[in-house]
């Protein structure tokens, strides 16, 4: 089923560490909160993109993983197929707090817009100018087969040139992003086992 499709590159961010293709690339301060870690990692990228600071934490996480993953990459026709466990619950709770009490009922549009998990994909599309296929799924753990099949469909049908797949989970201080590029070049075949290896 997966002939001529390869996992070309991967990036993982969890526990204050960034990994590229399975090797540690950069480590933040061990005790740093996610928000401090994200700021530090963002500075490392040396990009001028003030919108980063306006994003919610899930979008920040995915933005960072994608930026490291796509360094020096051709971005033409990259579709997005992502999933997570907590949807946008981290931001949902913030919006809920702003409407919980009648006396302090001030819902914020800048918070509310992030109460949808696919917004993080929208941010990536804007950042990398990806006018491409997008889907966001929610599951208790990474739905390996579904993501594999969906990505393979997009490539085989010609609806995408490459696909950025992955897990984009963030809830409070627990986060884990595993993004990988599937395309026609590389050595690591796009198989269930090789995908599962990215999560080890």
């Amino acid at each position: 089923m997966t002939d001529n499709m390869y996992i070309e590159r991967s990036c993982r961010i969890s526990e204050n560490t960034i990994w590229l293709d399975g090797a540690p690339y950069w480590k933040g301060l061990p005790a740093a909160s996610f928000i401090d870690f994200a700021k530090e990692a963002f500075r490392l990228l040396k990009v001028d993109y003030p919108k980063f600071y306006k994003m919610d934490n899930l979008s920040k996480l995915v933005f960072l993983a994608a930026d490291f993953l796509l360094q020096q990459q051709d971005k033409d026709g990259i579709a997005l197929v992502m999933a997570n466990r907590s949807s946008s619950l981290d931001t949902d709770i913030k919006h809920q707090q702003s409407i919980q009490e009648k006396e302090s009922f001030f819902p914020s549009p800048a918070t509310f817009v992030y109460t949808l998990p696919n917004i993080c994909e929208g941010e990536l599309c804007i950042r990398h100018q990806l006018m491409t296929e997008n889907i966001f799924l929610v599951d208790e753990c990474f739905p390996t087969e579904t993501i594999e099949m969906y990505a393979a469909y997009l490539l085989r049908s010609g609806k995408a040139k490459r696909v950025m797949c992955g897990w984009a989970e963030l809830f409070q201080e627990n986060y884990d992003a595993v993004l990988y590029l599937v395309g026609p070049n590389g050595e690591k075949e796009h198989t269930k086992k090789n995908i599962e290896d990215l999560f080890r």
């Binding site: 980063f52 600071y53 001030f106 914020s108 549009p109 800048a110």
Partner: protein
Amino acid sequence: MVELKEELKGKIIEVLNLEDVTVGDIQDGDALFGDGLGLDSIDALELIVLLDKEYGIKLSDPKQGKAIFKSIETMAAYISENRTK
């Protein structure tokens, strides 16, 4: 008025997450939208919330925002005239 303007700059930086901007960077007459601070439509909506939350001003028509949010100058003038808290 000077105090209100400085207070506004601080609040705008905070609620709009303008990370690399300081109070000293914003001139009273600077355009907030467009080329100025580069704010967008969500920021404009957020400023409507700020008027309500901090100064007790409810805009009856969000289109009024365009004139009010032109600069710190115009915002401060509108607030000092209409504030209820």
